[in-house]
């Protein structure tokens, strides 16, 4: 195993541990917004799309980039907005 892979694995395991611990006893009313909030975070794949876009040189690649970019951006933008809209109702 290369050092780089081992490092990535270490980072992965630690992030998993953080993920397990960060959710505590949440009131059920917050489950939907929390799910939606976590959903927005995996929109980070947009960064992956950007990396791919920098490397693309052929038409099929461009097509993949375009679709993936639209998908990922919808995930990010829609995700955060819809979460915010839900949480707006939790004002007291």
């Amino acid at each position: 195993m290369s050092v780089a892979l081992l490092t990535d694995l270490t980072v992965f395991v630690l992030a998993v541990l953080v993920g397990f611990e960060v959710i505590s006893k949440v009131p059920a009313t917050l489950h939907t917004p929390l799910m939606s909030g976590a959903n927005s975070i995996h929109g980070i794949i947009l960064i992956g799309v950007m990396i791919i876009a920098g490397e693309a040189r052929t038409v099929p690649e461009y097509a993949l980039v375009a679709v993936a970019a639209a998908f990922a951006t919808a995930n990010v933008v829609g995700g955060y907005l819809v979460t915010d809209r839900m949480l707006e109702m939790f004002r007291r």
């Binding site: 998993v16 993920g19 909030g37 976590a38 992956g48 920098g54 995930n75």
Partner: protein
């Protein structure tokens, strides 16, 4: 590393911290909205840093242009959907956003793989690409089906077609065989076969699950997408993707468990499917010795009460009767009746369903009461008005040995009198009889919630002016 690169990488780390902090803050109602903002800030930072990084790389012009076009389309579509969709359609929208996230994760791996597949591809890249593509494609179709079920485009009932187990197993076999092939000889065509099989599996996986279990399924698929994104991080060697993906994968898993627990289900039993049809008018037990009441009697009882506690449930949402309920409550409040809404955490079909619904009908927040807060008040209530709620009021939950055992319930049976509005003696989500209906102080008003509530308002106005 250059100084620029150092700054960019430190910025990614900061973004990761923002995601964790955001999720942490979202654990409690008071800070949840701020948490979402913090998380969004982290995302904005990550995106800006990547733009900067790409700019220093001086790539060709076409890639970025195509990217920008895609971003524009996706961003506008996402924003419009998020702003326009009705509150009650939130879960299917989350599912849709989850679907495209999973799709994007799969596509990224495909693009990278296609670029590398000319030469030899390492074990590490092959493994993570396959995992990414399989999980991503499964999530994509699975989430679409889930969204379709909630939206009513796909039937909400469990679809239990014959041979579905065989079909599922075949698809798994195809995926595994394709994966083995890819380790031996890189091939984009085989990867596409794997994707198609995984996508088909996503459909077969979600179809047999009842619509009412969809929130749990969506949460699980959400964790899936996180994992797929982490795998994409391995493929692209991007620490930011690994951290954020793993974070969502793990926290999504815990959240899925919490959600299933809250509605007294296990994740396994949800996935096995065939449960939670309940949304149709379930086969009704014969209306035995229950006491019926009429709209006029109920109206008088309500109008002359001092304290009324309203218990809304799934039936209110199904009938879209939140505005009629709010109007009736206002009318009673105007006559000096002390009206409160008792909010059970899993009333309805998604967590927080009742909060969302009543907020939409502009019910003032101070009239809402959480279960723990309101339960001691039931003995003081003259009337508990149950509107389309069933399981969350079933006293059987206090006894062991039935499907609702152990679920905390609203103590409706402690009220001085109870009026239940529902269409029949039909069952709720859990599919069992409700002992409340046979209670001495309970009277049933069999009708659709929307019309019954409108009739009640009218009757209050005419009868007691």
């Amino acid at each position: 590393m250059t100084a620029t690169e150092t700054v960019i990488r430190l910025g990614y780390l900061l973004a990761a911290v923002a995601f964790v902090l955001g999720l942490h803050l979202m654990n409690s109602p008071a800070t949840a909205r701020r948490g979402n903002l913090v998380s969004a800030g982290g995302m904005a930072l990550a995106v800006v840093l990547t733009v900067w990084h790409l700019a220093t790389d001086r790539p060709g012009a076409t890639g970025p242009l195509v990217l920008a076009a895609g971003v524009l389309v996706g961003g506008v579509a996402g924003a419009l959907l998020a702003r326009r969709v009705a509150m009650t359609a939130m879960p299917q929208l989350v599912s849709l956003f989850n679907a495209v996230g999973g799709g994007a994760a799969a596509l990224v791996a495909v693009a990278e793989y296609a670029r590398l597949a000319g030469g030899p591809v390492g074990v590490r890249t092959t493994l993570t690409t396959v995992l990414d593509v399989v999980i991503g494609a499964t999530t994509f179709t699975g989430s679409l089906v889930a969204a379709g079920k909630l939206q009513g485009w796909v039937t909400g009932s469990p679809v239990l077609f014959p041979g579905r187990r065989a079909v599922g197993l075949t698809l798994v076999a195809v995926v595994l065989a394709g994966a083995v092939w890819l380790f031996v000889a890189p091939s984009v065509a085989v990867l596409v076969v794997v994707i198609v099989a995984a996508a088909a599996f996503g459909v077969v996986m979600v179809l047999p699950i009842g619509g009412a279990d969809m929130p749990v399924v969506i949460s699980l698929l959400n964790a899936f997408t996180g994992t797929a994104v982490a795998m994409a991080g391995f493929v692209l060697d991007s620490t930011a993707l690994i951290i954020a993906g793993a974070l969502v994968g793990a926290s999504g898993t815990i959240l899925t468990k919490l959600m299933a627990d809250a509605m007294n289900r296990s994740v396994v039993s949800v996935l096995v499917g065939g449960f939670g049809t309940g949304d149709g008018p379930a086969a009704a037990v014969a209306a035995t010795a229950v006491r019926r009441t009429t709209v006029d009697d109920a109206a008088i009882q309500l109008a002359y009460a001092r304290k009324v506690i309203v218990v809304p449930g799934y039936g209110l949402a199904a009938a879209q009767a939140q505005h009629e309920l709010s109007a009736l409550a206002d009318l009673l409040g105007g006559r000096g009746v002390d009206v409160r809404y008792a909010i059970h955490p899993v009333a309805g079909r998604m967590p927080g369903h009742m909060n969302v619904l009543l907020a939409e009908a502009n019910v003032p927040y101070p009239m809402l009461r959480e279960m723990d807060e309101i339960n001691p008040e039931f003995p003081l209530a003259d009337v508990a008005l149950v509107v389309g709620a069933n399981d969350v009021t079933n006293p059987a939950a206090r006894r062991p040995g039935n499907p609702v055992s152990g679920m905390p319930i609203l103590d409706v049976d402690k009220a001085r009198s109870v009026i239940v509005i529902k269409r029949s003696m039909g069952h709720g989500y859990a599919g069992i009889d409700n002992e409340l209906y046979a209670g001495e102080r309970t009277s049933m008003l069999f009708a659709d919630a929307k019309s019954a509530l409108a009739d009640l308002s009218a009757a209050v106005k005419t009868l007691v002016g």
